[in-house]
């Protein structure tokens, strides 16, 4: 029944298979990125906890590790299964992508699977379940290999994504891209910026997740020994990363201005080319009349940021004719990302200051951290929407349009699979978030019981059976 209703709604709103396929891809990749964004950095946090335990012999580090490795396992599983969906999407919905640029995308994806996926998947088993079957150092090595695998995976996929924004190192023969220089393909102009920006985004997402859940447990009077370790490490890392992220984000923006000026114009909401363009804090872009309503801006600041000159010229959206992205999603997406970044800056600096002065956080800071638990998700999604929608109408900038890549699968079929994915993702997202908070509460209830005797040097316990 739901299926039929869905069909009708879409027929009425004249949504075509193309729009549905785009929504489906956006839904899949948005859902997917939530989990790697956490695991890429969380695994390095785990490695840090583990190494601190080895060095200090202090059980509190192990306590922190034990809680967060469970979160890691759950998050990783969600990332794996949603990632499998991605690898099928190219063929089911976007065959034109592989037919045109398969010679480039194929090897990059293959290297991701070969060098990263197997590494992380195999050693994950040892990391999660092997602690009493392998020596302690081997177990730490497994943790390190999983961390390396997740980061390597990010490297390959960002290389491919960046190539789609700033393609080079290839020639077109009979409508197909053929590689002329692999190092130019991999290290394309936007790749270093995008990779750094994404890895730091992951660091911030994981840091605020750790800080948020730890603060939640502290507010519930949980006194587990690992709590303060995790809280202090994550807040310190957040305060360290956020200024770097703002700096790297600025560099990334300048790089985009050079290669995809239309994207910048849309992000800044600048319709006509102007000198001394203001930085708009708020506005409602109007695509039809090509103007903004309710503008609030700081004069000349956009020009200053982007050209480092007060009267620097910035090309407006109108100068890009038809090949330009929609304005509103970029304009708002960018402001959401930056806004959350600033909140992260304020809260992490406040928290570090309080920890430095009083060695503990007051209630309001703890509450703010709880509120920020998933702030990294929102900022990461907003940022990705800006960069991906900002590439439209291109799928590969200047090479292949998104419309030319779509498959001939009928709209009703896509609507069916989309409905299935959306309901599945909604269920899993709710389950994930509630389970995380449930685990946090349960971990607290355990800590009131007498402390479990631990094995200080993590000597292997003989396996049973």
């Amino acid at each position: 029944m739901a299926y039929i209703c869905f069909e009708d709604t879409f027929r009425e709103s004249m949504m075509d298979a193309f729009a549905l396929a785009r929504i489906q891809f956006a839904a899949n990749i948005s859902f997917h990125i939530l989990f790697p964004t956490i695991t890429i950095a969380l695994c390095w946090f785990l490695l840090f906890f583990k190494i601190r335990f080895h060095l200090t012999g202090n059980d509190s580090w192990l306590d922190a590790y034990r809680f967060w490795v469970k979160v890691f396992a759950l998050t990783f599983a969600l990332g794996v299964v949603s990632g499998i969906t991605m690898s099928f999407q190219f063929g089911t919905n976007w065959p034109g992508f592989m037919e045109t640029v398969g010679n480039i995308a194929g090897p990059l994806l293959a290297y991701e699977v070969l060098t990263a996926f197997f590494l992380e998947a195999t050693f994950l088993g040892i990391m999660l379940f092997g602690s009493n079957r392998v020596p302690p150092l081997m177990h730490t090595l497994a943790t390190a290999l999983v961390a390396a695998g997740t980061t390597l995976s990010a490297f390959w996929i960002i290389a491919l994504n960046s190539w789609m924004h700033t393609p080079q190192g290839f020639e077109m023969i009979d409508g197909q891209a053929h590689v002329t220089d692999w190092s130019m393909v991999i290290f394309n102009p936007s790749m270093p910026y995008r990779l750094t920006h994404m890895l730091i985004a992951s660091g911030l997402t994981a840091a605020f997740l750790i800080a948020g859940l730890s603060a939640y447990r502290l507010l519930r009077n949980d006194r587990s020994t690992g709590l303060n370790r995790a809280l202090k490490s994550s807040v310190a890392i957040a305060a360290l990363l956020i200024p770097i992220q703002i700096f790297v984000g600025d560099l990334h923006g300048l790089n985009t201005l050079e290669h995809q000026p239309a994207k910048i114009a849309a992000m800044e909401g600048i319709w006509d080319t102007e000198k001394g363009a203001p930085l708009l804090l708020f506005a409602i872009p109007d695509e039809e009349n090509r103007e903004n309503h309710y503008e609030v801006g700081i004069p000349a600041l956009a020009s200053l940021i982007l050209t480092h000159q007060l009267d620097g010229e910035i090309a407006g959206i109108n100068s890009f004719a038809e090949n330009r992205p929609p304005v509103a999603p970029l304009f708002f997406g960018f402001r959401i990302m930056v806004g959350i970044g600033l909140l992260m800056l304020i809260i992490s600096f406040t928290a570090v200051w309080q920890l430095y002065r009083r060695a503990e956080l007051n209630k309001w800071t703890l509450r703010a951290l709880v509120a920020m638990t998933f702030s990294g998700w929102i900022a990461t999604l907003a940022g990705w929407y800006v960069t991906e929608i900002g590439r439209q109408p291109w799928l590969v900038q200047g090479v292949l349009t998104t419309r030319d890549a779509v498959s001939g699968v009928p709209a009703t079929t896509v609507a069916g699979s989309l409905a299935m994915y959306l309901s599945l993702y909604a269920l899993l997202l709710v389950a994930y978030v509630t389970t995380l908070f449930y685990m946090a509460r349960r971990a607290g209830s355990n800590s009131t019981a007498p402390p479990v005797t631990t094995n200080p040097h993590n000597l292997p316990v003989p396996a049973q059976g």
């Binding site: 999660l128 001939g408 389950a431």
Partner: protein
């Protein structure tokens, strides 16, 4: 790079990649086969038994599933034309299979971490997901064999194929449990393995009858002299293995748990033989009777780059996969996170 250029001609590249594709799909079917099978076997088990069954696949399932990603990746990389054609045609079963894989992958973790009262719910999703993934894979195999034809007879065959693959996975799962467990669980697994083997054997016979009828190319390969001679060892060996497995299953469990690994090894043998039969029948087509591997292959320079990666990395993958299985050798113990 130069070595690969010198060793492999452009014409050979697609053949090599077909081989790699075959290996990854076969390894996938064997490895994920046993954990999907265990997922289905959990249907009418108690909670304690379910925990034990989950424990036997805990450290492995993630890497097992990666072989599917590799297989699809190779199809995508090496034969982009076929990738679009096959996955576009199989749109709905692929989507359902993915839903199944998602459900079971996450339920595996949720069941251990969610509220106690919710464990049953996640178990149900885990079992349902395993069934959905197994049957849709079988259905797609059937579609592939009949050359993506639709129509009542073709659909009926696909349904039979779905049941056949599901029972083959059940067989793998049961044999894995015989290897990894002991006591009443093992006895139960032996019983399960017997019925699954009977179903699998029946399915193999049915597929073997329909296969040549569905495709004249395959008919010629199977029944024309002397090609028939090359094929003959496969069904013969397969039949012998099935009989041996029946006998072994009758004798188990033995004193001191001897030979508990034999059923699994034999089941793997049956998989390898059945797979080789299929591969032999379809070669050199990647899409039956439509697209050969040379027509579907991507540019040689890209294939060489990937081949280099495969030559270097695949042995490493095999080594650390073996390491993982060695670390977790023996009867499975309770799953405890660090």
């Amino acid at each position: 790079m130069q070595y690969i250029n010198a060793l492999v001609s452009d014409h050979q590249l697609p053949v090599i990649f077909l081989g790699l594709l075959g290996i990854s799909m076969l390894v996938y079917a064997i490895l994920d086969g046993y954990d999907l099978g265990i997922g289905m076997l959990m249907l009418n088990k108690s909670e304690a038994d379910r925990d034990r069954m989950i424990a036997s696949i805990g450290p492995f399932w993630d890497a097992n599933e990666t072989w599917l990603v590799l297989g699809v990746g190779i199809l995508l990389v090496a034969f982009p034309m076929a990738h679009g054609l096959v996955l576009g045609t199989l749109y709905t079963p692929v989507a359902l299979m993915l839903a199944g894989l998602i459900l079971r992958g996450v339920s595996f973790d949720f069941r251990a971490k969610a509220r106690v009262g919710h464990k049953k719910f996640w178990d149900t999703l885990f079992i349902a997901g395993s069934m959905l993934a197994s049957t849709t894979q079988g259905y797609m195999l059937g579609k592939y064999i009949v050359g993506f034809e639709s129509g009542l007879v073709a659909e009926l065959f696909c349904v039979i194929s779905a049941a056949c693959v599901a029972s083959a996975y059940l067989l793998m799962g049961a044999c894995w449990l015989i290897l990894k467990t002991i006591g009443h669980m093992q006895v139960m697994a032996i019983k399960n393995a017997r019925s699954a083997l009977a179903l699998t054997a029946l399915g193999l016979v049915l597929v073997s009858i329909v296969n040549p009828l569905a495709s004249p190319t395959i008919y010629n390969k199977w029944f024309k002299w002397p090609e028939a001679l090359y094929l003959l060892p496969l069904p013969l060996l397969c039949a012998i293995l099935i009989v041996c497995l029946f006998i072994t299953l009758r004798q188990l469990p033995k004193h001191q748990d001897r030979h508990c690994g034999r059923p699994f090894a034999m089941a793997v043998g049956i998989f390898v033989l059945a797979f080789s039969g299929l591969a032999y029948s379809f070669y050199p087509y990647i899409v039956p009777d439509t697209l050969t591997i040379w027509q579907a292959a991507s540019a040689p320079e890209s294939l060489r780059v990937v081949l280099l990666g495969c030559v270097v990395v695949l042995p490493a993958i095999f080594i650390y996969t073996a390491l993982s299985y060695w670390i977790f050798r023996g009867k499975s113990t309770e799953l405890t996170y660090y």
